[in-house]
């Protein structure tokens, strides 16, 4: 059938072009090219787990295709046992092997989940920096309480320094994620979650919200810039001098919905702003949220 042949060739071309397009894609594989200690460890875990999975995947594929080929209807020479209905030993084998692999994975999981617990501080000689993160409609506010500055959609951090992120939301739920540095954590109103990350060296990384939060969600991304301590201090100083004052009124205005915000530096007028944002959602009787 000629039409079928033409169609086949067309599809083949599509597949080849598609594959090539994927191969030459200019995008950076953030998760596989980590720039921070947490992201590196997470990558190692990805590789180990994928490797362990191969112990099931490879046998499945080999068995599937070799058995399918050997016992095809046309091969009348192959043995045919229509009434065979099982084999205790073989079945035991494939209950046992996956169980063994999962056992190994379970040990890895126990160990890694505790080691890479986002709430765990990163051991280091360098004094950690605290950054308070607030998800707003639809931008990220970063508060540096010790430095007395804040910024919108721009996250400068000193390199080789543990960063203690405290994360909340004054909007719908979001998720705070910088894939080059490590995994994400939810940003929820009335609560403070934690995330600990550290950048290896100088660089600029994309961060974004990973959880749908309304109309401006797609524009809710920011630049995380890891820089030398000196550059960071210089940024803090220039923001302290030139930044817009961020007090209660300015915050109220800032919290109003807006989209695709450009980075702005702020001079923090109220060191307790982050806690106030959380307390907005707490009932006055102090019972807090359940759970």
């Amino acid at each position: 059938m000629k039409k079928a042949k033409v169609a086949f060739i067309v599809i083949l071309v599509v597949v080849i072009v598609g594959t090539l397009a994927m191969l030459i894609s200019r995008g950076n594989l953030d998760v596989l090219n980590p720039a921070g200690i947490i992201a590196s460890k997470e990558r190692t875990l990805i590789l180990i787990t994928s490797f362990l999975s191969l112990f099931v995947v490879i046998p499945v594929f080999i068995l599937l295709f070799s058995i399918a080929w050997k016992y095809r209807e046309g091969n009348t020479k192959a043995v045919y046992t229509p009434d065979a209905s099982g084999n205790r030993l073989l079945e035991l084998l494939w209950w046992a092997i996956p169980t063994l692999i999962i056992l190994i994975l379970a040990v890895i999981t126990v160990q890694s989940t505790h080691e890479l617990d986002p709430y765990k501080t990163i051991a280091s000689d360098v004094k950690p920096l605290t950054v308070q993160v607030v998800a707003l409609q639809w931008k990220w506010l970063f508060i540096y309480p010790a430095q007395g500055v804040a910024s919108i959609n721009y996250l400068p951090i000193p390199d080789q320094t543990p960063i203690n992120f405290e994360v909340t939301s004054d909007a719908a739920m979001n998720s705070f994620w910088i894939p080059s540095l490590g995994g994400q954590i939810y940003a929820m109103s009335g609560m403070s979650t934690q995330l600990h990350l550290e950048a290896d060296g100088v660089g600029t990384y994309r961060g974004s919200s990973a959880n749908i939060s309304g109309a401006g969600f797609s524009g809710m991304n920011f630049k995380a810039q890891s820089m030398s301590r000196a550059d960071f201090d210089a940024w803090v100083q220039s923001t302290t001098q030139a930044g817009v004052a961020l007090g209660d009124n300015a915050y109220r205005e800032l919290a109003l919905p807006s989209q695709n915000n450009i980075p702005i530096g702020y001079k923090l007028m109220d060191g307790d702003l982050y806690n106030k944002i959380i307390l907005k959602y707490m009932p006055a009787d102090g019972t807090g949220m359940g759970m």
């Binding site: 499945v60 058995i67 996956p98 401006g216």
Partner: protein, 658 residues
């Protein structure tokens, strides 16, 4: 009383603005109207109204099953149209270009896509197959509760109507398919969108729960004499497991949606942020339903392949007991893993570890099933008809998707993949590779059972290859994009990220899938036109279970004489021992057709629509309508009719022609 107060009382928040949409949505709405009008004209022209009414009021599970499949097919096309818009937007909305859709419309589309594909396509397929196959496979004449079955279907259909209504009236939720609060609360979503979502699922969900109960009881109480539990076909086992999950999981959905609607209607604070509400509770509850839901869909798919592989390998199923144990293990474990959907909510390392390990444990029984299927082929005589092609495609995709699943089961890894396109690719691999491929295999396998002729094999295999290649092209780029940090549900991104090429490839994959669907439509048309060349007897595949022991097409009562079962693969044994049931006929009682199901559906639709638009009077009218109809129907006698021996005689000898 002034005028607005009266209109508010009579129409709630429904007003002229509800009918105004952007051009693309307007187009879809007009297409919907044209389609309905076209169907009306066609039915009138062909004088088929009475015929249609007979179908709609039938209590025969086989007819109800076909109606489920018709709805699921139409919804599949709607869901695919949504995908085309989503991918077009993502392939074009880069840098300074904003694409074809507004973000609000884009968000409505992906929310509708997810909801429709799960609730009205996958669930529709599953219930369709239950209805068509289960009674026959257990040697029964009917389901346990034939009238309830009709109510289930019509509630499902009402949910379908409500989820499509926003194309014409109002808007749909822009919150994603699970509508997490606080985004889905009044504060952030004051419109009718989330209410459409809630009431569509609430009504369809009650239908699903009733269906679950119905088939669970059917399997336990209506099996042919001698069919002990351990002699049931594995497909029946899978349905038993799936329906028991429905019975435990769907009430959670009903309660959760109920609480969310109380928040929205009455200003309560179950899940609001502030006011003492707790959105995290919603996320726990919705996944306590949502994860079992995945297995509600995929267990029947496992059951379908457990039917197909032995038949096309000409061999008994390998490791029947293992298969049953694996099914039961998955059923129980599926309730112990819901937290893996939100490792990133900050539950702490101990909790995350537990749920991570429980998730991996599910991979063990699943792996066992795969090995058992493969060894069913070992020393068989494998016919590679299209159902087997779908099976091979299923094993390949499901294994790879499973690896992605095990990766994300490790909490520390999940922190990097959660809500990324990697996750989206993973669950599409599982649901398309598992449920959808199984549905296509089942369709080809059981089609001649109901029609007497097979589907065109050549077009079927073309469809398979288009689907497989399209599927890989559509989802491999998403896995890669996930590694690049691309999150799901983006309607716009920066050109500098280098993602556009991958989104375009994914879009091309979708086009190939659409070509696959077109091929399947062509396949059905060609097969019907050339049916005389493809006529087969009642047992075209040399099959093994009892559904093939009935005449083709099966009469309303399925079995003139109820078979007696002594072994597994009952029909196979019947053929081997030439022990064909006697031709001694007795009158059979079958349920009369009933329009109550469709009327109850109609009043449920009024009620749901009215609650969405805050029309109090109409909501009460709908609710009382449902209650009164139920009372009338449930207190009436004489709902059955008898088919006489002569009629049976006539039907049985005429069998085999369509």
């Amino acid at each position: 009383m002034d005028f607005t107060a009266i209109t508010n009382f009579l129409l709630g928040r429904l007003n002229i603005d509800a009918f105004i949409h952007d051009p693309i949505m307007e187009g879809a709405g007009i297409a919907l109207l044209v389609g309905l009008l076209g169907a009306t004209i066609l039915l009138t022209y062909l004088k088929r109204w009475k015929w249609l009414w007979k179908w709609m009021t039938s209590l025969d599970p086989k007819k109800i099953g076909v109606m489920y499949l018709v709805v699921a097919t139409i919804m599949l096309l709607r869901g695919l149209a949504d995908v085309l818009l989503i991918r077009t937007q993502q392939a074009t909305s880069v840098g300074s270009s904003t694409g074809i859709l507004t973000s609000d419309h884009f968000q409505q589309i992906f929310s509708a896509h997810g909801t429709i594909m799960i609730f009205f396509v996958a669930m529709g397929i599953v219930f369709g197959v239950f209805n068509l196959i289960v009674p026959q496979q257990i040697g029964a004449r009917d389901v346990a509760f034939p009238f309830m079955n009709s109510v289930s279907f019509w509630l499902f259909a009402v949910g379908m109507v409500l989820i499509n209504a926003p194309l014409l009236i109002g808007e749909f939720a822009a919150t994603g398919w699970l509508a997490y609060p606080p985004l889905s609360e009044l504060q952030y979503s004051p419109g009718v969108g989330v209410d459409y979502w809630i009431w569509s699922l609430q009504i369809a969900g009650i239908g699903s729960l009733l269906s679950g109960i119905n088939f669970f009881v059917t399997i336990l109480k209506k099996r042919a004499p001698g069919m002990k539990l351990m002699k049931m076909p594995i497909f029946v086992w899978s349905v038993l497991c799936s329906t028991s999950l429905i019975m435990f999981a769907f009430p959670i959905l009903t309660a959760t949606l109920g609480m969310l609607s109380l928040d929205r209607l009455m200003g309560m604070h179950f899940f609001t942020s502030g006011g003492g509400g707790n959105p995290m509770m919603y996320i726990n509850l919705i996944w306590a339903w949502g994860h079992p839901e995945v297995y509600i869909l995929v267990l029947p798919a496992f059951g379908i392949f457990s039917e197909i592989v032995p038949v096309f390998s000409g061999k008994k199923l390998f490791g029947y007991t293992s298969m049953v144990v694996a099914l039961l293990a998955i059923t129980i474990l599926s309730f112990t893993v819901w937290l893996h959907h939100f490792f990133t909510m900050g539950a702490g390392a101990d909790v995350n570890t537990l749920f991570g390990i429980m998730t991996m444990v599910i991979a063990i029984p699943t792996g066992v099933k795969v090995f058992n299927w493969i060894f069913t082929m070992y020393r068989g005589r494998i016919k590679f008809a299209t159902p087997m092609l779908w099976f091979m495609g299923f094993v390949v995709t499901f294994t790879l998707g499973g690896v992605a699943g095990v990766l994300m089961a490790v909490p520390s890894i999940d922190f990097q993949f959660h809500n990324s396109l990697f996750l989206v690719a993973h669950f599409h691999t599982m649901i398309i590779g598992g449920v959808v491929f199984a549905a296509f295999a089942a369709f080809t396998y059981w089609f001649p059972k109901f029609t007497g002729f097979t589907l065109n094999e050549r077009l079927g295999s073309y469809a398979f290859w288009l689907w497989l290649v399209g599927f890989l092209l559509a989802f491999i780029p998403l896995y890669i994009l996930g590694f690049m940090g691309a999150t799901r549900r983006l309607d716009h991104y920066d050109a500098s990220l280098g993602w556009q090429g991958l989104f375009i490839v994914a879009g091309v994959g979708v086009l190939l899938i659409c070509a696959g669907v077109a091929m399947q439509v062509l396949q059905v048309i060609v097969s019907i036109r050339t049916r005389n060349a493809n006529r087969v007897g009642t047992d075209p595949w040399n099959a093994r279970n009892l559904e093939w022991a009935t005449p083709t097409p099966p009469p309303e009562y399925n079995f003139a004489t109820i078979p007696v079962v002594s072994t597994r693969d009952a029909f196979w044994e019947m053929k081997q021992s030439k022990n064909i049931p006697s031709k001694h006929y007795e009158p059979i009682q079958v349920p009369k057709s009933s329009a109550f199901g469709i009327f109850i559906g109609f009043f449920a639709l009024l009620c749901g629509f009215a609650i969405i638009w805050h029309i109090v009077l109409m909501a009460l009218f709908g609710l009382f309508g449902v209650i009164i109809l139920l009372i009338i129907r449930l207190t009436s006698d004489n709902n059955e009719t008898t088919i006489s021996t002569e009629e049976i005689q006539k039907l049985e000898t005429a069998g085999g022609t369509v």
